[in-house]
Symmetry: C2
Subunit: 218 residues, 2 copies
DNA sequence: TGCGAAATAGGGGAAAACCTTAAGCACAAG
DNA sequence: CTTGTGCTTAAGGTTTTCCCCTATTTCGCA
């Protein structure tokens, strides 16, 4: 079995040495390069193609997040696992957005290293307990019984109207786009509010977003 | 080292036997009980306290999702890993909502079993690649650069007003709640739209949601 | 000391929302 | 075959909001 090649990036020599030592316990894992900032990572990638980059977020010159974005753009098959001292939501979001496959806290159990490496090689995303909890909670919150409620409770026409309302169309626009009178649109809107028990446009928009009728960002 | 106790639940004997055989390769994992439906799982838990329940979603009598809800309610320390044939979003959501710590597809690589078991024991959530991808994408989509844009671009007062608008308050309500004239609220709203380059209430609401000024559900 | 930005607020006409009512139609139940 | 229920359509009239303009006061900062 071929060994798993790893590039280790952290600006503190001692930390790198420690992690390398931990990884040495695994016969099938080999640290093939080390870097102490993001730029150096990008440089090393020109000549060496590790399966996994294990990288600190906080580094001088170029931090781990920026480096990840570039790495994933240029070498999309490379898996990046980010290390961080903080469970900060913003970091996590940026990490996942830039294409990282893992996010491990520095106070994680050593076994997490192994789990993360194997998980990401297998195609999954590995997040430290606290982080995965955050992400899962968010998922459960936002995917509120998706589409179930509405699809069942509203007529097709009402759904159409709701969708247009939530997209920001004025009553007139909607009327034009559906070829009906503005007054009819008003009726639909009123009935929507009635059924959804929400008595303002804002509520309608929120419901529409919740049910994925529209994207929450433009 | 004490071995990891597992309760295996699936309505097909052959599947149970197969998984048990896979788990037998690990010296430190021990399947201590088997069930073929959710009710039986609950029954078994009265006398046996496994660390992990590995359970199919689709089962007669009581399915894995319902069973999970009850298990987590009554034995919150037990980790539940659900097995399913489908990457169906609704299932995943329900699974996570009912407190499952893992969701593995039945066509997963065998190594996932081990990864999932160790991950959940460590407190993390394990999701098969396809699933974790879904969840992460959703997370990245919904947590849109939280608070960054707005906090910087708007005055405190404008933020207050925006928040109330997005909560569905009418101009009058906002005026009353801030003890200012409705006309002033209109001014603020106009300036908000100006700065945010969004020319309807819907856009304001979406921005507010995107920036977590309010929750997207009520 | 003045200058811009923030917060306040009014007038007035256009536009939209809100409430009520209802007609035409389809389809299912009685 | 009639009755009822639900969907789509729509109008009239009242209330509210929107929108453009103007204007005052109070800041901090140059």
């Amino acid at each position: 079995m071929e060994s798993i090649t790893i590039l280790l990036a952290d600006d503190h020599q001692l930390v790198r040495a420690g992690i390398r030592s931990l990884l040495n316990h695994f016969a099938d894992i080999e640290v093939v390069a080390e870097a102490d900032n993001g730029l150096q990572v990008l440089d090393l990638l020109k000549t060496c193609k590790p399966a996994i980059i294990l990288m600190d977020i906080t580094m001088p010159e170029m931090n781990g997040l920026e480096a990840t974005t570039t790495v994933i753009r240029d070498y999309p098959d490379t898996k990046v696992i980010l290390l961080s001292m903080y469970a900060n939501e913003e970091y996590v979001r940026q990490a996942l957005q830039s294409g990282a496959s893992g996010y491990i806290l520095k106070d994680a159990a050593p076994v997490e290293l192994e789990l993360a490496i194997k998980s990401v090689l297998n195609g999954a995303t590995y997040l430290s307990p606290v982080i995965s909890h955050q992400v899962v909670c968010d998922y459960v919150r936002n995917t509120g019984s998706s589409s179930h409620n509405l699809q069942g409770k509203l007529t097709p026409r009402q759904l159409e109207v709701l969708k247009l309302i939530a997209e920001g169309c004025s009553t007139k626009d909607i009327a034009a786009s559906l070829r009906i009178s503005p007054k009819t649109v008003e009726s639909h809107r009123a009935q929507l509010m009635d059924r959804l028990e929400t008595y303002d446009v804002v509520g309608l928009v929120k419901l529409a977003i919740k049910n994925n009728l529209i994207k929450s960002r433009d």
